[in-house]
């Protein structure tokens, strides 16, 4: 698929929050790969599995040639048996290993749902904390080129609903590596929900081992007028819109939660207390999804600060259509984000 034509490769914006400017700039897949590489190097119990992790493209580059360095025992291809293999990853984790299970699309996680939800997410709780399941499941949302209804689903809303799972959505190269390393160290099941659009960016990443804490958001741009909370590649889109709106004297704060569960409520609530106006941006479905949950949390905990109804920008409640004219109508991006910000900004109740 000519993914290159859907989105060109670009440098990430220089977010005000990064204090690592003198490091090298690498591609997103190199950043993920470096995280996995260092985890494999540091802990002999870490291993990598998944369909195609050892193939020439190596999971969009994220696992490329790792089998050559660490051997086929520790980096292995699997049969197409997502249900059983998730169970086996859970078993291996209980047995003391630290699996990282790669899936090239979230759509295939539906097949693994029973093991993820009925088993992995509950084991620690159900047995009174006797054992836990240190398992990382990595997956990457597809978009465009007629990927259609079964190859482009953004399932973070679904997984955000499940207690016992940590849910991570990186948006920068720096975080992709640091959150991967945190996920591997974590003693719980962690799902990393990445996005193919993220793989179109280069960013600044230190070569040493570091972690980005799970459960901590970050302010990508400070502002006083409107708080935008956006996930994954939509952080960058929101950031550009926020920059654009500076010329209209609208000062937007952009928050990247980075983790959806546990959610960094504090960083959001502090910002809402300051701006009183909120837009939430997510590439998943709207109903009962990420935007719904974060809105409810804000209304529950910061109602007195709100000066306008919360704006939500999310994909419509429909399966993804194949056709490109329909995709154009379906997906959200900068124009929708801008419109929502203006609406919330200008609201006078």
């Amino acid at each position: 698929m000519p993914w290159s034509k859907i989105k060109p490769i670009e440098n990430e914006p220089d977010f005000c929050s990064e204090k690592i400017k003198d490091c090298r700039r690498i591609s997103y897949h190199e950043a993920v790969r470096e995280g996995v590489y260092q985890a494999l190097e540091q802990d002999p119990n870490v291993f990598v599995m998944g369909q195609g992790v050892d193939d020439p493209s190596g999971m969009f580059g994220a696992t490329k040639n790792l089998h050559q360095k660490f051997g086929k025992e520790r980096v292995f291809d699997t049969p197409l048996a997502e249900t059983a293999l998730t169970g086996m990853a859970v078993g291996a984790a209980l047995g003391g290993m630290r699996p990282i299970y790669f899936h090239n699309r979230p759509d295939f996680l539906y097949l693994a749902m029973d093991q993820i939800v009925n088993h992995a997410s509950k084991w620690y709780f159900m047995f009174g904390g006797k054992v836990s399941v240190p398992l990382v499941i990595w997956t990457c949302i597809g978009r465009g080129w007629g990927s259609a209804a079964q190859h482009s689903q953004a399932l973070q809303g679904l997984f955000m609903h499940i207690p016992g799972i940590k849910l991570v959505m990186p948006s920068t190269c720096f975080d992709a590596k640091g959150l991967m390393l945190s996920a591997v160290k974590d003693n719980n099941p962690v799902i990393i929900m990445d996005h193919r659009f993220n793989f179109k960016q280069n960013g600044i990443v230190p070569d040493y081992m570091y972690t980005v804490p799970i459960g901590k958001g970050i302010i990508r741009k400070n502002g006083r007028d409107v708080t935008v909370i956006a996930v994954s590649h939509l952080v960058t889109d929101s950031f550009y819109v926020a920059q654009e709106l500076m010329s209209e004297k609208i000062d937007v704060e952009v928050i990247d939660p980075r983790t959806l569960r546990p959610l960094d409520e504090e960083i959001i609530l502090e910002s809402v207390a300051k701006t009183g106006r909120v837009v939430i941006v997510d590439n998943g479905w709207k109903t009962a999804g990420v935007t719904a949950e974060i809105s409810a949390m804000i209304v529950e905990k910061a109602f007195k600060f709100l000066k306008a109804p919360i704006g939500r920008v999310a994909c419509p409640d429909l399966p993804t259509p194949a056709g490109y004219t329909l995709e154009d109508a379906y997906y959200i991006g900068k124009p929708e984000i801008k419109e929502a910000i203006l609406k919330v900004y200008s609201y006078r109740g």
Partner: protein, 323 residues
Amino acid sequence: MKISNEKKLELFYEMLRIRRVQERIEALYMNDEMKTPVHLCIGQEAISVGFCSLLQKEDYISSNHRGHGHYLAKGGDLNALIAELHCKTGGCSKGFGGSMHLIDVSVGHLGSSAIVGGGIPIGTGLGLSSKMKGSKNVSMIFFGDGAADEGVLYESLNFAMLKKLPVIYVLENNQWSVCSHVSARKAGENIFHKAPSDLLFSSKIDGNDILSVYEIAKQVVERARNGFGPSFIECETYRILGHAGSLSQDPKGYRDQEEIEQWKKKCPVINFQTILIQDQILTTSILSEMEQRISYEIDVAFSNAKESPLPTKEDLYTYIFCE
């Protein structure tokens, strides 16, 4: 088994037609007018043609992401296929499905899944519906060696055996699942480990030999139609082109060119053509007439597809719930 010369020509024509359609898609794909991931079935034509040639219009098929051949062999409309690849309203799924989601209800094709293995229980359920309605229709399921990794195959087979369903499981073992060879995913030689023969008829055949396919298909379709239950046929074949898109987009270095060349020698279309010419069943004039007819039909399908309107944003909400 005696197969008439007309039948042989018919089988050849169908294979040639699917081959030429695939080749045309491959040739034009990099023009970026078909904005949907295509999975071509060049090298596997004998399987869909041989098996579908024994089905009635009302019989069901269940197909997968690599489904152009199944669709055409079952009698699916070529114009609607090509329009779907162009994501146009004239497409079989009106531009909502793309290449991996083909359908032609009028010939018993009720839609293909792009989730590997997803069509296996659905095809089994179509067989259940036939049985419950007391109809004589059979259900034929096409799936790959990758799909045979999925546990749902075993669950479906068990149920089909339990209920003696009129279902034919056709495994197209084309050796590869994306860049993963079958030997990286299966222990031993046989994909399916046998069930007692009264419960399940099973066999492994050369899927590139149209006459072997036809012969076994006749047996299993009769068996299913007459209430003797399910069959499982493993067809050995090979995916000549890349996994998806045009060959130029296929990752390099996961398989040897030598392997591809060996399998090209076993080409189901060319080999059958040679036999038919040797046996003086096919003449060069019949062949060129076939080629012309096919080429014309493909030209028409592509030009119709180009003229078919694009769906618009007003169409997006059309299919939420069926009234």
